[in-house]
Structure formats: C-alpha cells, structure tokens
Symmetry: none
Subunit: 260 residues, 2 copies
C-alpha cells in the first residue's frame, strides 16, 4: 500500500463545502487511503478550527489544500474529472457506479494522468455548470429511500475504492496520445461558442441546448490534445471570411496596405 505514486495524481475537489467539519473529515478520509491533494472551491469557511479538529491526524492535508474560486481552476492539468452525483440528469454523460469509476480513475492515474474526484455542496450537490466541466458522472449505489451520504463519508468511500483499485492493478488501457486537459477542452467549448455565435447558428440570448449537447458529445470520449488543436484550427479558418468571397476580396487590399 506504500509508495503508490498514482495516489498523488488523484485530487479531491470540494465545491462550496458549507460545513468546515466536513472539510476536516474529507482530509482525514483521504489520508487514511493515501490521498493527499485537496482542492477547495469557494469553501464557506477555511481555514477553520472545526475543520482542523475533524481532520485529526490529517491536518497536513488541510494545510496543503489549495483554495480557488472556480472548479475549472481546481481542474487545471486534469484530464479526467469524475463528478459525484446522486441522480441521473438529463443530457448528462453516461455515468459509472463508484467501483467501476474508481477503476477508471485509478488506471488513468497509473498511466501518469492527473485525475479528480469532484464533490458538491452538502445540500445542493454540484450545479449543472460544474457538472459540465466534468467528464464522468459517478454514483455511489445507495438506498433509494435515503441516498444522502455525508460529504466526508462519500469522500471516504471513493478514496477507499480508488485505493482498492490501485492495490490490485487492473489491466491498463493503452492511450497512445496525450489527452487534453479540462482547461483545454473548456477553451475549445468557448471557441465553438464564439464561432457559432458569429455565424448566427448559436444565439447566446436563446441558447437552447446546443452547448450542453456538444459537451455531452465530446465528453463521451477523452479528447486528445491533438484533436482539440485540429478542431480549433478548423474553427480559426471558419472565423475568417471565405477565400474568394466579397469580404476577402475587399479585405485583401487592406492587408497589402499594411505591408506597404
């Protein structure tokens, strides 16, 4: 169980945690399973004496925690973000149960990738906006009549499953190509939105479900970095006036003037 570098590539992200005690409990749960990278997005109160008390012997995890203001910041460099959710949502990506998801995350981390477990607020869970930047919805099988795990308990279960998955290594899927990180995929989504707004295909005032649908489509696979670059290159060309169009004919002399 010692010396498993993949564990250092699994980060736990708590979004808008409202009870400092739960942050402490999460830190303790993580450390018992060998995890150490804790990210806090807009915690209600941190640092906090209650968090330190509940962390018990895991105050080092709390002290090293990174506090940021958006989930995207917490996912910098991450190629697979798993979002804990208690129910299926419309247009969401295919979900995995906790055990299967832990195996997915563990094998990616063993392959050298940065991965994340993302947990929402105690009362509201994750917002749809937060879910959109995650690639893998995860559900812990629970009593349908009472499925509300405490935040610290949910972190304990997932940390335990990750640790178990890394203890008995599953066969590794082979990824030949470097994957895009969450922030690179976000930049692609912003680029698509900009380019389709320019053509009038997308209307930001009446967005309908275009962007969620595209996120869901791309989210079903792990986009490679080269693929993101190809798509963005394609968009760059779509954003220019078409060659031979009136606009490009008129624009050309301007460019020549600039050179003169």
């Amino acid at each position: 169980m010692t010396d498993r570098p993949a564990l250092s590539r699994v980060r736990v992200v708590l979004v808008q945690a409202s009870h400092p005690g739960n942050i402490g409990a999460a830190a303790r749960a993580m450390k018992t399973m060998g995890l150490s990278s804790l990210w806090l997005v807009q915690p209600k109160s941190f640092p906090d004496a209650e968090a330190s008390a509940r962390a018990s012997g895991a105050t080092d995890v709390l002290e090293a925690a990174q506090v940021v203001s958006t989930l995207t910041e917490a996912l910098q460099g991450v190629t697979l973000a798993a979002a804990l959710t208690s129910r299926r949502r419309e247009l969401s990506l295919p979900a995995q149960w906790s055990r299967e998801a832990a195996q997915t995350l563990a094998s990616r981390a063993e392959h050298g990738e940065e991965v994340a477990l993302v947990f929402g607020n105690e009362t509201y869970g994750l917002s749809n906006e937060d879910l959109r930047v995650c690639q893998l919805p995860v559900m812990i099988p629970a009593n349908p009549a009472y499925s509300s795990l405490n935040l610290g308990a949910a972190v304990q279960v997932m940390s335990y499953e990750i640790s178990m998955a890394l203890a008995t290594p599953a066969a590794l899927p082979v990824y030949g190509e470097p994957l895009a990180t969450v922030d690179e995929v976000e930049a692609l989504m912003a680029h698509i939105e900009r380019a389709t707004t320019a053509t009038g295909f997308f209307n930001p005032a009446n967005p309908k479900r275009l962007m969620p649908r595209l996120r869901r489509m791309f989210g079903r696979i792990a986009l490679e970095r080269d693929e993101v670059n190809i798509l963005r290159g394609m968009l760059n060309f779509f954003e220019r006036p078409l060659p031979g169009s009136a606009a490009s004919t008129i624009a050309a002399p301007t460019r020549d003037d600039g050179k003169a």
Copy 2:
C-alpha cells in the same frame, strides 16, 4: 437495491462509543446502505442531540437502536460477528480484508443467518475480551502511515461493502438516443471535407491525416443521430458568409430583390 431482506439481518454494534456525533454518523451511514439494526454497548451518551443532528435523515435508525451493557448481549442470535480492527493481534483468528469479509457476511445473511459488524471505541478500539467473542477479525486496507478511519467513516465503508456484496447490480439508466447510421456519419464526413476545403483549412491535394483523425475521433464518440444533425447545421452556417461581413452586406439586397 430495494427489498433485500438479507440487509435486515446485518447488525452494526458500536462498543463504548465516546462521541455521540459518531453514533449519529454511523446511523446515517447505515441507512444510506439499507442497514437498520444498530446496537450500542455502553455508549458514553445516548440519546444525545449531537447524535440526532449528525444522523440527519436517519433518526429512525437511532430511535430503534438497542442499548445494552455487554457485547455478548448485543450478539444474541448472531452466528458470525466480524470485529473491525486496525492491526493484527497476537493469537488472533485469521483476519479478512474488508471486501472479502463483506462477502462472507453477505452470503451468511443471504442464507438466513444473523451477522454483526462490531466496532470499538474511537481511541482504544476493541478490547481483547471483546475480540474473543467475535469470530472474524476484519481490517480495512489503509495507509500504514495513517490508518485511523473515523468511526462513522469505517461504518460507512463496511456498510457500503456489505451492500455491494448483496447487490444484484442494478443496470445503470440507459440512454435511449438513437445512434447515427454509417451513411449519416459518411454524409457528415463529406460535409466537413467540403466546408473545410472552402475555407482552405483542408487541402484535398495534400490531405495529410485530417479526415482519418476526425473519423477516429467521431468513431470513439459513437455519434447520435441528433448530434450529426447539429454538426451539419453548424457547418451549413459556417458555409455562408459571416453576417455583417462585406459579402453578406452585398448579398442581402439580392435576397430582398428575390422577395420583391
């Protein structure tokens, strides 16, 4: 996950729990996994407002809890008592790891037997005397440098494992969206080739690997029919002159003329 009578034959026994909050957390952890039978041996304080608060929606489990003065009383009728312990002890019985132990307990419970998970005091664990009346020492694999799970968290992990062992795995919700047919995907590829050739991004005389790479990407996605339609709609708009560009300004009167 509903209607699993074996779950009612798994009791959780907390011996000399000293923090009422942990008793509440244990009740909540149990209920999320469908367990309901809680036994308390000499709790320091029970009932207690802190226990009720931490139990959240599982106060029914607390209210039905049985308070007794010895572990033997709590194990009346039980044929297999598993004792959670964080270390191997001298002269102890052969231990099992949490997952294997949960399977053992689950299969006994499915067979109609009463079984128990026994947890010791937060600081001292179980006494040797308590261990002697249990038949199965159980360890949760943990970080050797910090193996101290919170009591509620340990109850959560074991309840989860028991529930997983008893689960007739529910199929994850299925997504009913119709997938695109091969010919629809081929038409999309042809559309992309046409549109990117028009912008100059794709050069048919020197195609490189653009189309094979896009095919590989869409192939991994398994495109739905609606997604193909969205992408083709987007391409249709990219193929028109940009609104507000010189080309569209010049073109506009033509369309007006057409209507007149």
